[in-house]
């Protein structure tokens, strides 16, 4: 279950427009601040997929980072119940110099597995990622799709109840998109939640029943994916026409 009430994330900038922490802002003369998310309230039910729709910079990634506890709310409250696996970039937390195997061991432990558990899961990760011999090679030699495949296989190590995807699925080849979809539906069938952000609305429709439309860091609308997608595309068209 995921519930957010009046959620807000703000960014502080110094006079050179660099993002700074509140600690730094206290030490220096503050430049300015901007809200990345503001007054966002929603509830996500178990067994349901949610698409985050909106333009670049609308707050989709910020919201996903909050759900992954990569970021923390500066305002409001957020409750996330369940094991969370996140793929928030095609890098998926992978360190380029390490091999697929070394990354899988490393990230498994960081995600909460013990070292023996993470070591025991390695062969499974290798099999799921379908990387073959590449699993023993440095990640720097991987294509984006291969990284995403490894990222997904590693994320799966903790048997997630909540899966967060940020445009990663868009880097995958067709075969692996199917694998991802199957896995996402398994999580949903087990009462989990899938939250996916991206611009491939067809893919999002296959993963999610519901959608949140974000605009300028605020929740514009929430509803079924078809309803929200159509409203968003219509608004985008309208804006483009008025802009030209």
């Amino acid at each position: 279950m995921v519930a957010a009430h009046d959620l807000g994330v703000h960014f502080l900038f110094d006079r050179q427009r660099r993002v700074v922490t509140p600690g730094t802002a206290r030490l220096r003369r503050q430049g300015s601040e901007a809200w990345g998310l503001q007054n966002v309230t929603f509830a996500m039910k178990s067994g349901c997929g949610y698409a985050l729709i909106g333009r670049s910079g609308s707050g989709k990634t910020t919201l996903l980072r909050l759900l992954a506890s990569v970021l923390f709310p500066d305002a409001g409250s957020l409750e996330v119940r369940g094991r969370v696996a996140s793929l928030l970039s095609t890098d998926a937390g992978l360190l380029a110099v390490l091999t697929g195997r070394e990354n899988a061991l490393h990230l498994g432990v960081l995600a909460g597995l013990s070292r023996p558990q993470s070591r025991a899961a390695l062969e499974q990760v290798k099999e799921r990622s379908k990387l073959g011999d590449y699993f023993e090679r440095p990640v720097s030699s991987y294509s984006q799709g291969m990284r995403a495949r490894l990222g997904l296989a590693v994320a799966d190590e903790i048997d997630p109840q909540i899966l967060l995807l940020d445009e990663v699925h868009e880097a995958l080849d067709h075969e692996f998109r199917r694998v991802l979809e199957e896995r996402a539906h398994e999580i949903l069938a087990g009462g989990g939640i899938v939250v996916a952000a991206g611009h491939d609305h067809q893919m999002l429709s296959r993963l999610c029943e519901r959608a949140l439309w974000l605009e300028g860091g605020r929740l514009q609308a929430e509803g079924s994916i078809e309803e929200i997608r159509d409203a968003y595309l219509e608004a985008t068209d309208r804006q483009e026409r008025s802009g030209t």
């Binding site: 960014f11 660099r18 993002v19 700074v20 922490t21 509140p22 600690g23 730094t24 030490l27 980072r65 992954a68 506890s69 990569v70 970021l71 923390f72 409750e79 996330v80 119940r81 369940g82 094991r83 969370v84 996140s86 793929l87 928030l88 970039s89 890098d91 998926a92 937390g93 992978l94 360190l95 110099v97 390490l98 070394e102 061991l105 490393h106 990230l107 432990v109 960081l110 995600a111 909460g112 013990s114 070292r115 993470s118």
Partner: protein, 272 residues
């Protein structure tokens, strides 16, 4: 985030929880340090050689210069120097690693939640692994000056943790400095480097007098340098102040900076 329902069972349950928390923290520390060491030394048989020769590459040439080329006077000048350079290297490299650590782990910090407060401590663990090989420098110098090892070497079991605690204290403080003042990064490093030169690094404390002697003792590294000298060179137990003062200093640093770092790490994904 996983919301846990606290099991009933009072003290036993909380002890069990603390134990599993500590075990998980050790696993995370090992994972972070292992990946760090892999990045540094690579893989294959060559990594052992790289690990062995790195301290020589860093400070060995300096010792050779002082001992052989400059022919610096005083008794066992090279060994005296090695007993200050080696513990200082642990502090200095831990600080450098900690100041780089957030950028080095950017892909992970931006992708997932983990115990980020442990990052500077993992820097110390990484440098500790490479630090072990730098003891060869001291033993090399002992062989050159024909200084025989004594049972006082057992005091290393106390001196080393104090050295690690000081390295950890500085690592947390300087990691925060790197977050707050990124443009002053090199000044921060110079400040830590300066502590070597305003301590009895080049000249043992016994060769100083009066005000200089008293002022040098204020430097937390002075006690550590002198403790290493006691153990390796003089063959005696370190004086209590040589261990207690640096340890107290480390506790104060950790007491101040760990809670601040814990608060600031919540913002890391915004600033990298």
């Amino acid at each position: 985030m996983e919301t846990e329902i606290a099991p009933r069972g009072g003290k036993t349950a909380s002890v069990g929880k603390a134990r599993s928390h500590a075990r998980a923290s050790v696993d995370v520390l090992l994972a972070l340090s292992q990946s760090d060491l892999r990045l540094r030394y690579g893989r294959g048989p060559g990594r052992i050689l790289r690990w062995l020769f790195e301290p020589f590459a860093l400070v060995g040439i300096y010792l050779v210069l002082v001992t052989v080329v400059l022919g610096r006077g005083g008794h066992a000048a090279g060994l005296n120097l090695a007993t200050s350079v080696v513990p200082f290297q642990l502090v200095m490299l831990s600080v450098t690693n900690a100041m780089n650590s957030i950028d080095a782990r950017k892909p992970i910090i931006l992708n997932m939640s983990f115990r980020r407060t442990l990052i500077p401590l993992s820097s110390v663990c990484t440098e500790c692994a490479s630090f072990i090989s730098s003891f060869f420098l001291i033993f090399f110098m002992m062989a050159i000056y024909q200084v025989a090892p004594t049972p006082s070497l057992l005091w290393l079991a106390v001196v080393l943790p104090v050295n690690l605690a000081v390295a950890a204290g500085f690592a947390y403080g300087m990691a925060l400095f790197a977050v707050w003042f990124r443009e002053l990064w090199s000044f921060g490093l110079s400040f830590v480097r300066m502590l070597f030169f305003i301590g009895p690094g080049l000249v043992p404390l016994s060769q100083t007098q009066g005000t200089a002697n008293a002022l040098l003792k204020l430097n937390p590294l002075t006690g550590i340098f002198e403790a290493y000298r006691d153990v390796f060179y003089y063959g005696r137990a370190p004086a209590a102040w040589e261990l207690l003062y640096p340890l107290g200093f480390a506790v104060v640093l950790l007491g101040i900076f760990v809670p601040i770092y814990h608060r600031e790490q919540r913002q890391f994904a915004k600033i990298i």
